[in-house]
Amino acid sequence: MNMTSLTSLHPGQNATIHAIHAEDSLFQRLAALGFRIGKKIELVRRASFNGPVHVRIGTTDIILRLSEARRIQITH
């Protein structure tokens, strides 16, 4: 078990969401898109030049900036 932020995953790697450190508005948006504690998450790819990351949770593909991805703690 190894706890880090979502940004440390390599493309193709899977992990489990452990904690989400976000204020209400961001937390709510993340929850609505399926980011919930205990859910499996896959990092699909990263954009060039430190752009957003592309992740997959269940049936949904989502892109988010690194600043937001850093708030999501994962274990893998």
Binding site: S25, R29, A32, L33, A47, G58, D61, I63
Partner: protein, 596 residues
């Protein structure tokens, strides 16, 4: 009249369903205090007329985004008799919370599980009857795109409307919206007992396409290639169509209107033909471009590629306070600012949308390019002309960048950049045509009056008082030019060029025509005289000013219609005029100081 609200999460096909029900007859309604456009349509339901309103997509009724606030604002101020909730069947496991939130408000509602065709293909089965029982709400599986289940949905809506319901008053909803409830557990329980879903499902086709289109090295070049092709398509097809419209309007004028008005006094001829009729022509010239632009944009948006473009371009755009979708609109602005401004509606944060709308008018559009081609051909050698044009494009990009950097603090983006990447879908031709049609009608409704009045005003300024030669220094426009001489002389713009700039407010396409009238010469003779009277420093200064100041009346009209804010429109005009002057001043004075 009963009122039905259509509500759902983004990317659930809610608008597709709305368009299917409304056809081409939807209107943009006016709702007090709401700054986004809400489409509504009157439909016949079970023998009664009902009004169906398409609310913006939202994730959470208690959310903080602009759209979520709009929906709350709407529900708590307008009585609603029925809510039709649209959810994406494939994502029912997380979207059901919205239905539970609506139910908690006590509003009569029916739930439509859309994209049932797609869900079935990926192996998701939903027991709609069991779900309806647990939700205490009718549930129907539909496909808005292909129309399956849509007539049934309307019948169901009619039946539900007829049942007596105690609906909460808008004020009660307002109170309920303040309170939050734990819906999570109930959602999980319902999903567990009514939905069977593969653990992790992915659309293989989408994954494979994304491997190419979002490739670390290939992604960006492919994006630019795609944008270039779309751009070329819109404007190479649009130009001949614009020419045909101009030709038809000209024929109408010479064969019908001119003979008809032959006996009328000259001032009336001028007013009707050069004023009003030309104004109508200015409006008409935009129609083909807007239709084509939205045919293409519907494909780019509905296919899911626009979100991918955002992924590819975000690294650069986030530094400017914008996002990747803004970049696509900015690029399109290099063709024509008007549809690009209308296209910013895809951005759901008002702050970011306004910032994007502030920078789009600085894109060097094809109309301005015509002016620059003429002037560079007049004042520069064939060797230097391409360099001059290239430098104008550079200035255009720099002013965009500068403006975004300066104003990003004033128009903060309150929406986190978290976008869904929907699977690739191809919109049906019906969806594409409806969109084009809606946008053109929207432009005509909102902008045409403003444009015609503006053209009329410029005609009056350049032709009155009665008895003076048109576009001469004796006209009111000439007086305005003289009045501003102390401001315009330091940037090398003389009274004739000042008159051309006043004409340029209408549209850049007419600047060359205006110069011809001002100098009383055409074609080569005009070029010859201009080359004698102006040096290249003045010409460049004039081009810089033309590049940066207000692009055209249609752009102003669109800015006002889209922002719904006179203050913002005035800011855009004032900023571009001020920036144009400063840039021209710096250029002109340094060039002169260097001895040119």
């Amino acid at each position: 009249m009963k009122r039905i609200a259509l509500l759902g999460m983004p990317n659930t096909g809610k608008s597709t369903l709305f368009n299917r029900i409304s056809g081409a007859s939807a209107r943009v309604g006016n709702w007090p205090g709401i700054t986004v456009d809400l489409m509504s349509v009157k439909i016949l339901l079970g023998g009664h007329i009902a009004e169906l309103v398409d609310l913006p997509g939202l994730y959470d009724l208690h959310g903080f985004s602009d759209d979520e606030q709009v929906v709350r604002h709407f529900l708590s101020r307008n009585p609603v008799d029925l809510v039709m909730i649209v959810l994406n069947s494939s994502q029912i496991d997380r979207q059901l919370s919205l239905a539970l939130q609506i139910r908690a408000l006590g509003l009569p509602a029916i739930l439509m599980l859309n994209m049932s065709d797609e869900a079935r293909r990926s192996g998701i089965t939903i027991d709609a009857a069991a779900m309806a029982q647990q939700l205490h709400m009718p549930v129907l599986q539909i496909s808005a795109k292909y129309g399956n289940g849509c007539p049934e949905a309307l019948k169901l809506a009619a039946r539900t409307l007829e049942q007596p319901h105690s609906h909460p008053a808008p004020e009660e909803i307002n109170a309920l919206l303040q309170a939050d409830s734990a819906i999570e557990h109930e959602m999980e329980a319902i999903i567990k007992s009514t939905v069977a879903m593969p653990a992790q499902l992915t659309d293989q086709v989408t994954t494979r396409i994304d491997q190419v289109l979002l490739h670390p090295w290939l992604g960006l070049p492919l994006f630019f290639a795609a944008m270039y092709l779309l751009f070329q398509f819109i404007f190479t097809v649009g130009k001949p169509l614009q020419d045909v419209i101009a030709w038809l309007l000209q024929i109408l004028r010479t064969d019908l209107l001119d003979p008809l008005l032959a006996t009328a006094p000259t001032w009336l001829q001028g007013l009707l033909l050069d004023g009003i009729y030309n104004g109508v022509g200015t409006v008409a010239a935009f129609i083909p471009i807007i239709v084509l632009f939205f045919l293409i944009m519907t494909m780019v948006e509905d296919s899911g590629y626009l979100s991918r473009a955002a992924f590819l371009m975000d690294a650069l755009m986030s530094k400017m306070g914008l996002d990747g979708r803004g970049f696509v609109m900015m690029l399109m602005g290099f063709g024509c600012n008007v549809p690009a401004l209308m296209g910013t509606r895809v951005m759901r944060s008002r702050g970011m949308r306004l910032l994007t709308m502030l920078v789009i008018p600085l894109s060097l559009c094809s109309a301005r390019l015509q002016v620059f081609l003429f002037i560079t051909a007049t004042l520069f050698t064939a060797q230097h002309a391409p360099l001059v044009l290239f430098s104008l494009y550079l200035v255009s990009f720099s002013t965009i960048f500068l403006t975004a950097m300066l104003y990003k603090g004033r128009f903060p983006n309150n929406e986190p950049f978290i976008l869904e990447l929907p699977p690739y879908r191809f919109p049906t031709p019906r969806q594409i045509w409806l969109r084009g049609w809606h946008e053109v009608r929207h432009f005509l409704n909102r902008a045409s009056k403003f444009i015609v009045i503006g053209v009329l005003l410029v005609w009056a300024l350049t032709n009155l008082p009665p008895g003076v030669a048109a576009a001469s220094s004796a006209t009111w426009a000439g007086h305005i030019g003289d009045f501003f001489a102390p401001v315009l002389n330091p940037i090398g713009i003389d009274s004739q060029l000042a008159l051309a700039l006043i004409f340029g407010f209408v549209a850049k396409e007419i600047v060359i025509g205006a110069l011809a009238v001002i100098y009383g010469l055409q074609g080569d003779a005009l070029m010859h005289v201009m080359a004698q009277r102006l040096d290249w420093v003045q010409g460049m200064s004039f081009m810089l000013f033309t590049l940066i100041y207000t692009p055209c009346l249609s752009t102003i009209a669109t800015l006002k219609a889209e922002s719904k804010s006179m203050g913002f429109t005035l800011l855009s005009i004032a900023w571009s005029l001020g920036l144009a002057w400063v840039v021209s001043f710096i250029f002109y004075q340094s060039a002169r100081a260097l001895g040119f």
